[in-house]
């Protein structure tokens, strides 16, 4: 994000220096101004939605959802510990309800519970990342509220298209992960064998060189 921000700002500023130097600074101020307006809108939206989330937590509704998800999760993430299943179900159910604050810590705990000690992420770890990164969100509350604030005739009419789109992305993510986890293992074995051979050749060569030097 740092690189992206710096390059974009630099490129745009340079272009403006050439074409419209007078507008550069006012444009930046105008940007922050719209950021403040948006923040106020978001403050209102979150005040309502976060209180709804508070109710969900206080009534244990999020735990009910995570219990419902449990059998599905067991089947998707085969061969993990109970601790991992606990955290995955909390993570996914919180994510579906839009509770990022609950989802993230549970997700991190689930990842540490699933790691096998190597430097590579396991297939199940990747699956969890992909599911989160394409997350199914049941109620896109922020988007609906933003549309309502802008005076939409029917702010929530994007509900079904959004739900279908996010389901498509998550489902295809799961399928792709499962396919890749089958394929990648084979190619990994091959590359592992190849790199082993390469290492062997390299050490042989090194030995040969040192021997030659000693001979001299």
């Amino acid at each position: 994000m740092n690189v992206l921000f710096t390059t974009l700002t630099l490129v745009s500023l340079t272009a403006m220096l050439i074409f419209s130097p007078a507008e550069a600074f006012p444009t930046m101020i105008a940007g922050v101004k719209s950021a403040i307006t948006l923040s106020l809108k978001l403050l209102a939206i979150y005040a309502v939605w976060l209180s709804a989330l508070k109710m969900m937590q206080a009534t244990g509704l999020d735990k009910k959802l995570s219990k419902l998800l449990r059998p599905v999760i067991r089947r998707l993430f085969k061969g993990e510990s109970e601790d991992a299943y606990d955290n995955i179900s909390v993570n996914l159910s919180a994510n579906m309800l839009g509770m990022g604050g609950v989802a993230t810590p549970a997700g991190i705990r689930a990842m540490t519970a699933m790691q096998d000690g190597s430097a590579k992420a396991t297939h199940n770890m990747i699956l969890l990342i992909v599911i989160n990164a394409t997350s199914i969100q049941l109620v896109p509350a922020t988007v609906i509220a933003l549309r309502a604030a802008a005076g939409s005739a029917d702010a929530s009419d994007i509900f079904f298209p959004t739900l279908i789109a996010t389901s498509v992305s998550t489902l295809s993510g799961i399928i792709l992960c499962k396919v890749l986890s089958l394929k990648k293992d084979k190619s990994n074995d091959k590359t592992a064998a190849l790199s082993l051979q390469f290492e062997q050749k390299k050490s042989d060569f090194c030995k040969y060189i040192t021997q030659k030097r000693h001979a001299k």
Partner: protein, 168 residues
């Protein structure tokens, strides 16, 4: 139909809270309090991205980029006006919201473009941020196919959203 979902959901929540003897008023106070700190924490990101977007657009670079990508995107049925949004969504959640607000103001909230943009930002996540944070406590740092798969599936979701917005 979808008009009823949110209010019905809220009524259900309040009734359920009454059954469970949860204090509804206290929940609201807590939510309002949390919203202050949440907005405070995302404001810097929104401010930065807005400055960036405004500059990018005012300099004319945004149009050039959109024109460049217009053809391949049109092939997938994605309007070129949401090119920037598509590229920002995996990087920054606050930035995506900011850009969505900008698109709504520019094209009108009930226009096809703005509805597409709303679906796209509602249906996708910050891929790079999530993969970085989730691995933060792990020894494993190699993500292998996680990011390409996530990005590809987000693209699939975007195509679906743009297609559905034409009918629904």
């Amino acid at each position: 139909m979808s008009v009823f979902i949110l209010p019905a959901f809220l009524i259900f929540l309040i009734v359920f809270s009454l059954v469970k003897r949860v204090k509804v008023y206290d929940c609201f106070l807590g939510g309002a309090k949390d919203s202050l700190s949440l907005v405070k924490s995302i404001f810097p990101y929104i401010a930065a991205i807005f400055v960036c977007i405004e500059l990018f657009r005012a300099s004319g670079a945004a149009d050039k980029l959109a024109d460049l990508l217009a053809k391949p995107l049109a092939f997938l049925g994605i309007p070129k006006e949401i090119t920037q949004l598509m590229m920002l969504v995996p990087l920054s959640g606050g930035g995506a919201i900011a850009l969505l607000e900008d698109i709504i103001a520019r094209y009108g909230v009930d226009s096809y473009i703005a509805r597409c943009a709303a679906c796209v930002s509602g249906a996708s996540e910050t891929v790079f941020y999530i993969s970085a944070v989730y691995l933060s406590a792990c020894k494993a740092k190699k993500l292998r196919y996680a990011i390409p798969v996530s990005l590809f599936c987000t693209l699939l979701g975007t195509v679906t959203a743009c297609l559905l917005c034409r009918f629904l």
